[in-house]
């Protein structure tokens, strides 16, 4: 089934693993959860030898254990979960994994945008059916959240703070009373949430000011703050894990040399340090330099090498992809990258040589092309 999809949702992709975990799970399960909280944690964070399992469960989300525990516990309680953090910190991925593990359905998603309306959260009507048969449950189109309520599973709300305040506030009654009334209908006009229903929302901490949550809504969510990964080892793990997944998806067989991965991580670390010490927006790259961004650069380089290169990932290609991905504004971003290349990469290539020299050349060419 995964072959038919460009990107399979977590519950499809890890269906075997979830089935197996469900079969061995003897812990107490809250509501209609498919796995017990400990098993959910194990699914997300992977197994260790000490767990004594017959089969290894891979780690899917990298970060502090306590974040995952707090998230799971929140979902087992009466409140919704709001994952908040910088772009690219893995909030949505964690939300997807949690939904997949708890309710085997991570696709009941509402995407928050400036154009999101209350209908997207509650329900809307199939106009032609209403004209033909009048308003009834059959002519009603339930939103993903309402579907989640009816089924007693987890509903997701991406980028909550991007939607306007009045739309956000539609969630208040859903999270408090746990039902949605449909005043247009005379009977059967209340949809009650089944046990197991909860909401995982994500919010970008950089966007918080756009439409900040009302106090009433804040009270109904537990906040779990996901920090940017700064630990180089964890970051390497994440990049490797996600890239392997992408390669599988594209059916590409190509090795990522460890020293090129190091160069990528080092470059991002350097650029992050530079951004942290910048005093104005013009002195830092527009990109948030998140881990997701790194994965994007690597993916781009791999695809480029595969389709236009000799099926080997080279430092020049990586440099080209890095410049191409990060140079969004001209001339500001290009100037910063130019400064970085001549101030940091050049001395490093003289000192360490090897792939850094090729990286230097590739970067120079890319900057020259874009300038």
């Amino acid at each position: 089934m995964t072959d038919d999809m460009l990107r399979a949702p977590a519950e499809v992709k890890y269906a075997d693993e979830l089935d197996w975990l469900e079969s061995i799970d003897d812990g107490p399960k809250p509501f209609s959860w498919r796995l017990s909280p400990k098993m959910v944690r194990l699914f997300v964070l992977g197994s260790e030898r000490a767990d004594g399992l017959d089969r290894e469960v891979s780690q899917k989300w990298f970060g502090d254990r306590s974040f995952v525990e707090r998230s799971i516990v929140t979902l087992a309680s009466d409140r919704g979960l709001l994952l908040i953090g910088d772009p690219g910190t893995g909030k949505s991925w964690l939300a997807e994994l949690l939904s997949a593990a708890i309710s085997r359905n991570s696709t009941l998603v509402v995407q928050g945008t400036a154009g999101t309306t209350e209908d997207h959260i509650k329900y809307s009507w199939n106009v032609s059916m209403v004209i033909a048969k009048g308003q009834s449950r059959a002519s009603m189109i339930p939103s993903p959240i309402m579907t989640a309520m009816e089924r007693g599973v987890i509903g997701r709300f991406e980028e909550l703070t991007r939607s306007t305040s009045d739309v956000q506030d539609a969630l208040i009654s859903i999270l408090s009373e746990k039902y949605v009334s449909i005043p247009e209908l005379d009977d059967d006009n209340i949809v009650f949430a089944q046990p197991g229903f909860s909401i995982i929302a994500t919010a970008n901490s950089r966007d918080r000011g756009v439409n900040d949550l009302s106090s009433a809504l804040k009270r109904r969510f537990n906040f779990v703050r996901i920090p940017v990964v700064t630990n180089k080892r964890s970051e390497a793990e994440i990049v490797r894990f996600r890239t392997a997944e992408l390669l599988r998806r594209h059916r590409i067989e190509l090795d990522v040399p460890p020293n090129l991965l190091d160069i990528l991580l080092q470059s991002f670390a350097d650029l992050r340090t530079a951004a942290a010490s910048a005093t104005s927006d013009d002195e830092k790259l527009e990109s948030a330099l998140s881990t997701a961004e790194q994965i994007g650069v690597l993916e781009d380089a791999i695809l480029h090498s595969t389709f236009f290169g000799d099926r080997t990932l080279r430092a020049q290609t990586l440099a080209g992809s890095l410049v191409g991905s990060l140079a969004r504004r001209s001339p500001e971003d290009l100037a910063i990258l130019n400064k970085y290349w001549h101030g940091v990469v050049e001395p490093r290539s003289k000192q360490d040589g090897g792939d850094w020299s090729a990286f230097l050349e590739g970067g120079r060419e890319a900057i020259a092309t874009l300038s």
Binding site: R70, V73, A76, R79, K218, R225
Partner: protein, 995 residues
């Protein structure tokens, strides 16, 4: 070595052989651990292993002391701290025993001052042992660890500072005053028990599914052991000590020091046993679990133990005292998780009330509630050693049931606390925290939520935003679970200086032991008995860091006296600093004297520093001898200086000091004279260089000129030569515009450049389009010249007005900020002069503005006034420009006045209204009378210029009748002189005609 641990050993070795990848290592370690336990328990001298800040250790200690009632207790603590222990009864815990040395012997100088602290908390085994030993008659407490001197003797002599040797990185980054209480002292602890290499700790934390070490210890050792019996407790602690010891990197510096300490302790104990003859079964040896599993050859009290040579102490002079400590300071110093010591204290209190144990407490100690000690039971001997470990390791810990009431209390309290701290928390949050805590504990395999689970739950449910400056929920939880307790050292345990401070501040009538900030109001007129208190407070203000004593109203400067003062006192909170002052001297005055002396003899001392010390000495000590000594040092420092960076500071301070001495003393101290003459020579020498040196700012050169001109009168009277100054000015050839302007001002002051010329030069500058952009810099120079040449004030106003009138906006506007910042820097000195001058120059009313003509244009535009127009601003009497009463007060009057007189003499001439009867003439009368009464000088001068003397009662060239007759228009002494010597005028006329 078979029993009693044979079975366990066998079991462990078999398990190791079955699971270990490589043969040998693991079985050896596991068997070795069992051997260590066996060995420690077999020792005849009973070893009591402890861990720091462990309530389980403290409880086991109480139980054991009640049972055994030992006669001698050996304690792992620096032996030279013994005299301090009795002082603990005067303190509120936690406090730290401190050894301090500033006079070092054999230790590297850059290590000093050396400071060692050993914090003592109530929930610790060592405190229970100390309290038992000190308050039970017939019990001796012997500290056996190496002395504080040896702590540093055994430090590696690497460039690293010793202070960091024992303080691993703390993860309590948000603790603001963690290091505050302990300073940079080296911390020593009884029972340091923690894995010695990072990988082991990481491994334990990872598999224990906990975040930090304190949590691991609490969950896996502390809780299971809280109610364990003594045998189990002892065996488990030695087992853990042995495990960490065997898994420590061998040969590491730290292990070597630890082994030396163990040799030291066993040697001391054997010595004590031999001299006192006490029975070993009556003794108890309290040491860290790490040391209980020792394998050094000196281990044991048997006769065959190897000897160990204890090196003698160095001649370093150690001073001892108690300083207040706090839970957060201990956590910060020893790298414990934030809040862990507070949580340990809460666990201890709870365990004591649950077990109804009668704990020990020193007689007379404040701070915690007394418990009636039960009559001690008869001494119980330890039974034969039986294996308790197998049972302990094989079965899950027997934990106390879930205390719902306690958790509910926490949840309600945290919500209340959060609300008080600005969070939007409600009862619903309390319910959520409760539920989340239980769920989290369940997820983490805990039968009941620990404080750490509760903390996580509270953060999850309550914290929605991060607002800088607001306490985060984690910190609130720590406060809730016991909070940071700060100890206090009682009066009787204080050093003499600190006691003296408390005594002398008694008249204020405040309880200075309180840790809050208290406001003291001193009405020095109404209650003169408070004057000594005020004096002391000013000294403390000088000695202590900011915040300890802070004046709200009132000041102490030379020439000022406050009628009322108001102070914010926070002496209780800053007790440590007062105690540490006690290491420097017996009284506050002595410490001030030492500090002042140290400051002027420091390698980086400058003349400005020394002058400041002189001022402070006058303000605080009032000792003429000491002040003179500091003053003499200031002269030395000034003469040795090669830069003029401090010139503005030096000028300001010496002026203030001279004014003070002139007002209060009949004559100047000798050092003042030396300072002025040395300064005159020094600044004259450096002036030409300073004018051209790019690194020397205009302000510095201005201050040098200020010194030279304003001190000139005094310097010349003390034997300096004016030619030196004139030469120095002639040698100066500055290039930067601001300094050029300064030099012109100097020339003007010396009479080398008349004002008209100066004005003409400025007009040229403004008229030359190539120079106009730099004109603002000239103006800056003139503004700076106000200090050395105050009579230029009117001219500066004129130039500035001209600049505003004529400079193009593109030049003027960018320059305005520079002008403002320049003026702001010296607002106190320069701006009042300028404003006053401007106030006199410009009309005060709006209608007058229309009719107003700038005085300088009126002056320059009216040739009838002649070249000798008095002063600068026309309408005013000329004397005001250079007369006494400039901004520098009396001193300026001395130098500026004389120079002004000379200038006026040169500028004055026929028709300037300065003849007899005019104001100037009146002012000159006393001088003329003086000359008339003592004519010899004038006669000699007259002889030199060729006027014949009459040999009678007055000089021939001076017509004494003139003094008594009314003004005769057109006739003056100068005129008379010119008439009698027409040659000069003839030559001048010829020259002019020729030109």
């Amino acid at each position: 070595m078979s029993e009693p641990f044979g079975a366990l050993r066998q079991q462990l070795v078999e398990a190791a052989t079955a699971f270990a990848a490589s043969p040998g290592a693991v079985p050896d370690i596991l068997a070795g651990i069992v051997d260590d336990v066996d060995r420690a328990l077999r020792e005849e001298l009973e070893i009591f292993p402890v861990c720091h800040h462990s309530p389980a250790s403290a409880l086991a200690m109480v139980r054991r002391l009640r049972e055994k009632q030992p006669k001698v207790i050996y304690l792992e603590l620096c032996e030279d701290l013994t005299p301090l222990l009795t002082e603990l009864r005067n303190c509120r815990l936690p406090v730290a025993l401190q050894a301090f040395a500033s006079e070092l012997d054999t230790f590297p100088k850059d290590w000093g001052p050396l400071s060692v602290i050993a914090p003592i908390t109530e929930a610790s085994a060592e405190y229970q042992a100390i309290a038992y030993a000190l308050d039970t008659p017939g019990v001796e407490l012997v500290l056996v660890d190496r002395s504080t001197d040896h702590v540093f003797q055994w430090q590696p002599r690497t460039p690293a500072t010793p202070a960091h040797a024992d303080s691993p990185d703390s993860d309590s980054s948000d603790e603001d005053d963690a290091g505050e209480l302990h300073g940079d002292a080296v911390g020593i602890e009884i029972g340091d028990l923690r894995p010695r290499f990072a990988e082991l700790e990481t491994h334990l934390l990872h598999h224990g599914k906990v975040r930090h070490w304190s949590e691991w210890w609490d969950q896996y050792v502390e809780q299971p052991l809280v109610d364990a019996d003594y045998a189990t407790y002892r065996q488990v602690m030695v087992l853990i000590g042995s495990l960490f010891r065997r898994l420590a990197p061998s040969g590491a510096e730290r292990v070597t020091v630890d082994e030396d300490r163990e040799r030291y302790m066993w040697t001391r104990m054997r010595e004590h046993l031999a001299t006192s003859g006490v029975d070993r079964s009556d003794c108890l040896y309290v040491c860290g679990a790490f040391h209980a599993a020792s394998r050094v050859e000196q281990f044991g009290t048997g006769p065959d133990a190897a000897p160990f040579d204890i090196t003698p102490r160095t001649a370093t002079k150690w001073l001892y005292g108690l300083i207040p400590s706090s839970h957060s300071a201990i956590e910060g110093q020893f790298g414990l998780a934030s809040g862990s010591v507070s949580i340990a204290a809460a666990t201890w209190a709870k365990a004591v009330s649950r077990s109804k144990l009668a704990t020990f407490q020193l007689e007379g100690q404040r701070g915690s509630r007394k418990r009636a000690a039960r009559p001690a039971a008869g001494a119980v001997e330890a039974g034969p050693v039986a294996d308790q470990l197998t049972q302990f390791l094989a079965s899950p810990p027997d934990l106390h049931g879930f205390d719902e009431e306690e958790l509910l209390g926490w949840c309600v309290d945290i919500v209340r606390l959060a609300r008080r701290n600005g969070y939007l928390a409600s009862t619903a949050d309390a319910i959520a925290v409760f539920e989340t805590s239980i769920l989290l504990a369940g997820m983490r395999n805990r039968a009941r939520p620990t404080p750490y689970d509760f903390q996580d739950a509270a953060v999850t449910c309550i914290e929605k935003d991060v607002i800088p400056g607001r306490r985060d929920v984690r910190r609130l939880c720590e406060i809730l679970l016991g909070g940071d307790r700060v100890g206090q050292v009682g009066y009787d345990a204080l050093p003499p200086l600190a006691r003296d401070v408390y005594d002398r501040l008694t008249p204020i009538g405040l309880d200075l032991r309180k840790s809050t900030v208290q406001r003291a109001l001193l009405d020095l007129n109404g209650r003169p008995e408070l004057t000594p208190c005020s004096h002391l407070l000013w000294m403390l203000r000088y000695l202590l860091p900011d915040g300890a004593v802070r004046p709200i109203m009132g000041s102490r400067r030379l020439g000022e006296r406050s009628i009322q003062e108001s102070w914010d006192l926070s002496i209780g909170k800053h007790q440590r600093y007062i105690i540490e002052l006690g290491y420097e001297g017996v009284t506050v005055e002595q410490v001030v004297e030492r500090r002042l002396r140290r400051s002027v003899y420091a390698p980086d001392a400058t003349a400005a520093v020394a002058l400041r010390a002189v001022e402070d000495s006058i303000l605080f000590l009032g000792s003429r001898r000491f002040t003179d000594e500091l003053g003499a040092r200031a002269v030395e420092l000034l003469a040795a200086e090669r830069t003029v960076d401090d010139a503005p500071d030096v000028l300001r301070r010496i002026r203030r000091l001279l004014a003070h001495y002139r007002a209060t003393e009949p004559e100047l101290p000798a050092w003042c004279g030396s300072f002025v003459t040395a300064g005159y020579a020094h600044y004259c020498t450096l002036l030409p260089t300073a004018f051209v040196d790019d690194e020397t700012g205009v302000r510095q050169v201005g201050a040098m000129l200020g010194f030279l001109f304003t001190m000139e009168g005094l310097a010349l009277s003390l034997g300096c030569d004016r030619a030196q100054l004139e030469l120095a000015v002639r040698q100066s050839h500055p290039e930067s515009p601001a300094k050029v302007a300064l030099l012109w001002a100097a020339h003007h002051q010396l009479g080398l450049l008349p004002l008209a010329d100066l004005r003409a030069r400025c007009a040229d500058l403004l008229g030359n389009p190539l120079v106009v952009p730099t004109f603002p810099q000239y103006l800056s120079g003139f503004v700076q010249a106000l200090e050395p040449v105050p009579k230029l004030a009117a001219f500066v106003v004129e130039v500035m007005s001209d600049a505003f009138a004529h400079l193009p906006d593109p030049v003027l506007l960018p320059w305005l900020p520079t002008l403002i910042t320049t003026l702001r820097d010296q607002a106190g000195e320069l701006v009042p002069v300028l404003i006053r001058e401007a106030g006199r120059t410009f009309p005060a009313t709006l209608p007058a503005v229309d009719a107003w003509v700038p005085p300088w244009t009126a002056t320059t535009g009216t040739p009838t006034q002649g070249p000798g127009s008095p002063g600068i601003a026309g309408p005013r009497p000329g004397g005001a420009a250079g007369g006494p009463g400039g901004p520098a007060g009396g001193l300026v009057g001395g130098g500026g006045g004389s120079a002004g007189w000379a200038g006026r003499g040169a500028a004055g001439g026929p028709g300037d209204g300065s003849g007899p009867g005019s104001a100037r003439w009146d002012a000159a009368m006393p001088v003329l009378r003086l000359l008339a009464e003592h004519p010899s000088t004038c006669d000699d001068v007259a002889g030199l210029v060729g006027i014949p003397g009459d040999g009678g009662d007055g000089p021939g060239w001076l017509d004494l009748d003139l003094l008594n007759t009314p003004a005769t228009p057109g006739r003056s002494t100068v005129q008379a002189l010119l008439e009698s010597h027409p040659g000069a005028m003839d030559a001048l006329e010829a020259l002019l005609i020729a030109g």
